[in-house]
């Protein structure tokens, strides 16, 4: 699904240049659930941005579902993001004046899907994350865990090839963190490829594979025994 060879990325600030990613080789097969770990400054965010086509790579090769991702113009990048990728952010990034279903339907809006189908699809996804009764609520009327579930539904809405989650539990308490991870595991069970950036060990161990980044290179890449989340019984 994802094929990366010898990836380099530097940032230039005036005369200083910062070599962030120093030759990363990485591949992900369909249906994997991968945790990307690393301390801050290890380059994991830059890596995720490049995976998410939010940033360009300097050197190397990036194939996403067999499509070479390089030197994309803005419009093309937007199309690929829309078609291939679903994003989940630490701070949810819901649009605060749009209701839950409108937020979920946004990727479909940019695909040009008509409003009625958009609404149906959005509601279906919201129901699948257990938010059926909240479709018309604004983000401000939802709890943190609910917001993240709306964001997950939004990431699923366009049926992407890969879901990228950037610290999806970073802003949540441990109980809701586990709920969110439970949801991510279930989505993965259905065959979706998911990459989770995290710095928490227990969250990482809920994935099937852990990749450690340090100083711009992968220092460890291990397949682990997945810890299944047993949702707390109320």
């Amino acid at each position: 699904m994802i094929e990366i060879k010898d990836l380099h990325k530097s940032y230039h600030m005036g005369s200083n240049s910062l070599h962030v990613l120093k030759g990363i080789n990485f591949s992900v097969k369909e249906g994997e659930l991968v945790a990307i770990m690393g301390s801050s400054g290890s380059g994991k965010s830059t890596f995720l941005n490049i995976l998410g086509m939010l940033d360009n790579l300097d050197e190397g090769e990036y194939l996403l579902d067999g499509v070479a991702i390089k030197n994309l113009n803005e419009t093309k990048a937007a199309n690929y993001r829309n078609k291939f990728l679903g994003f989940i952010f630490q701070s949810f990034n819901l649009i605060n004046y749009k209701s839950a279903w409108e937020n979920v339907a946004l990727p479909l809006y940019y695909q040009g899907v008509n409003r009625k189908i958009r609404k149906e699809t959005a509601i279906k996804h919201l129901e699948s994350v257990g938010l059926g009764p909240w479709v018309n609520h604004l983000p401000s009327e939802l709890s943190g865990g609910q917001k993240q579930r709306v964001a997950i539904a939004r990431a699923l809405a366009a049926d992407p090839k890969v879901m990228l989650a950037d610290e999806p539990t970073g802003a949540l308490d441990s109980k809701t963190s586990h709920e969110v991870m439970d949801l991510i595991q279930k989505i993965n069970d259905e065959g979706k490829t998911i990459l989770v950036v995290t710095h928490e060990d227990d969250i990482a161990h809920m994935c099937k594979r852990i990749v450690h980044l340090k100083d711009g290179v992968i220092v460890q890449d291990t397949v682990v025994d997945q810890v299944r989340v047993t949702p707390y019984v109320q």
């Binding site: 941005n49 998410g52 939010l54 940033d55 803005e74 419009t75 937007a78 199309n79 993001r81 829309n82 078609k83 994003f87 952010f89 630490q90 701070s91 990034n93 819901l94 649009i95 605060n96 004046y97 749009k98 946004l106 990727p107 809006y109 940019y110 695909q111 409003r115 939004r154 366009a158 950037d166 610290e167 970073g170």
Partner: protein
């Protein structure tokens, strides 16, 4: 492009930011308000000037004799020029088809009395054409006619003020009035749109006055109107020709500036037209400048809005919004706010003008109004203004980097 969802997005963003939308719109509404008011004011001034001229026919030429300033043809400088009836006949003969009406005119101060009432007024000696040139309105009776001239009848047409002052409640028409100890019969009463002073005059047949006072054929002024089908250049040309011919006839140096005075309304009217056109241009200029301030204001506020919405725009781009989608969103919002608030400003201005217009009727300012052209122009200006105001912020928004926008704060 004009799909329902885009509008829904725009309404969403306007609805969720009512205050800043209001502030944004206000500057434009204000600009248009002032622009429309200025244009209406200029329109009012134009109407006022035109009305002033309407007192007299706008195609009038008045010729006054003066004193020669240059020796010519055996005469010394300083000779007084005197017109007489033959000069009128000469113009009639020589300029057939060029003039419309022509009349001699000279004014004499008289003491007038009726019964026990006495007053001092002016009598103008004229022929019937004068009514058309001065645009005299007859309220009662009739004006001087050709028979009065031919038979040198002692008749007068009196102004409304004269009638009020001397005759009080008596109907003046048919009464006898004493002018400088001679008895005249009042044949009509006139009023004048121009001003009240005009209504202190009386009109008498020129032949009668010439015979009674000095038995001369002398006249002081010649008033005429040129063919109304003439354009400005033709009118000026005619008046120049007339001057040359009259100077030759009266033996005046063609270069002499003091011997004859020509007062051509075409020239004055054209001056006034130029003046009001200039005013229009200036007021449009000022209005536009104010509007530009409004546009810059909108642009400024939109830039801040974009900054405020950077995160949202970043999210949208991460979810697949193309640069064009973002530009459209900002641009349409800008055009929408500008147009709506501009129309509000325009409606307010038009309402104010409609309210004031009937009240204001000063000599130089009357019936200010807003015409269709102004409305159409304003609309076009507003849409363009909206595009300009939104352009820079829109491009700025399109260039938002999702990674920068999404960086967890």
């Amino acid at each position: 492009m004009f799909n329902r969802d885009l509008w829904a997005e725009i309404f969403h963003s306007i609805k969720s930011n009512k205050l800043r939308t209001f502030l944004t719109g206000f500057s434009v509404a204000w600009g248009i308000f002032i622009l429309v008011l200025l244009l209406a004011s200029v329109d009012g001034m134009k109407n006022g000037f035109t009305k002033q001229f309407n007192d007299d026919a706008t195609n009038s030429i008045f010729i006054y004799p003066g004193t020669t300033t240059k020796p010519y043809g055996g005469f010394e400088a300083g000779r007084r020029i005197q017109f007489d009836n033959d000069d009128i006949d000469f113009i009639r003969r020589s300029f057939e088809g060029y003039y419309e009406y022509i009349t001699p005119r000279f004014t004499k101060s008289v003491t007038a009395s009726f019964g026990s009432e006495t007053g001092t007024y002016s009598v103008r000696s004229v022929n019937p054409d004068h009514q058309k040139i001065e645009r005299t309105v007859i309220d009662k009776g009739r004006y001087i006619n050709d028979a009065d001239i031919r038979n040198t009848l002692k008749v007068v047409v009196i102004g409304k003020v004269v009638a009020d002052e001397l005759f009080k409640d008596v109907d003046p028409v048919g009464q006898n009035i004493i002018l400088n100890k001679l008895s005249y019969r009042v044949i009509g009463v006139f009023s004048d749109d121009g001003n009240e002073r005009e209504e202190r005059n009386m009109y008498a047949p020129v032949s009668t006055i010439q015979r009674l006072y000095g038995n001369t054929r002398n006249i002081d002024q010649i008033a005429l109107t040129y063919n109304p089908e003439f354009n400005f250049a033709e009118a000026i040309n005619f008046s120049d020709n007339l001057e040359v011919v009259l100077k030759r006839r009266l033996i005046i140096d063609p270069e002499d500036q003091g011997a004859l005075y020509f007062n051509n309304y075409a020239e004055q009217f054209s001056n006034v037209s130029n003046f009001t056109t200039m005013l229009s241009v200036i007021s449009i200029g000022i209005g536009m400048l104010i509007l530009i301030a409004g546009i810059v204001g909108i642009g400024n506020i939109l830039v801040f809005i974009i900054k405020e919405r950077t995160k949202e725009i970043g999210v949208r781009k991460a979810l697949g919004a193309k640069p064009m989608d973002v530009i459209q969103l900002v641009l349409f919002e800008s055009v929408f706010i500008t147009s709506i608030s501009g129309f509000v400003g325009m409606l307010f201005a038009m309402g104010l003008v409609a309210l004031i217009s009937p009240i204001v009727d000063a000599p130089a300012f009357s019936n200010p109004s807003v015409d269709g052209i102004t409305v159409v122009t304003c609309t076009i200006v507003l849409v363009i203004a909206g595009v300009f105001a939104g352009l820079i912020p829109a491009i700025k928004a399109a260039n938002v980097k999702p990674i920068v926008a999404l960086r967890a704060d």
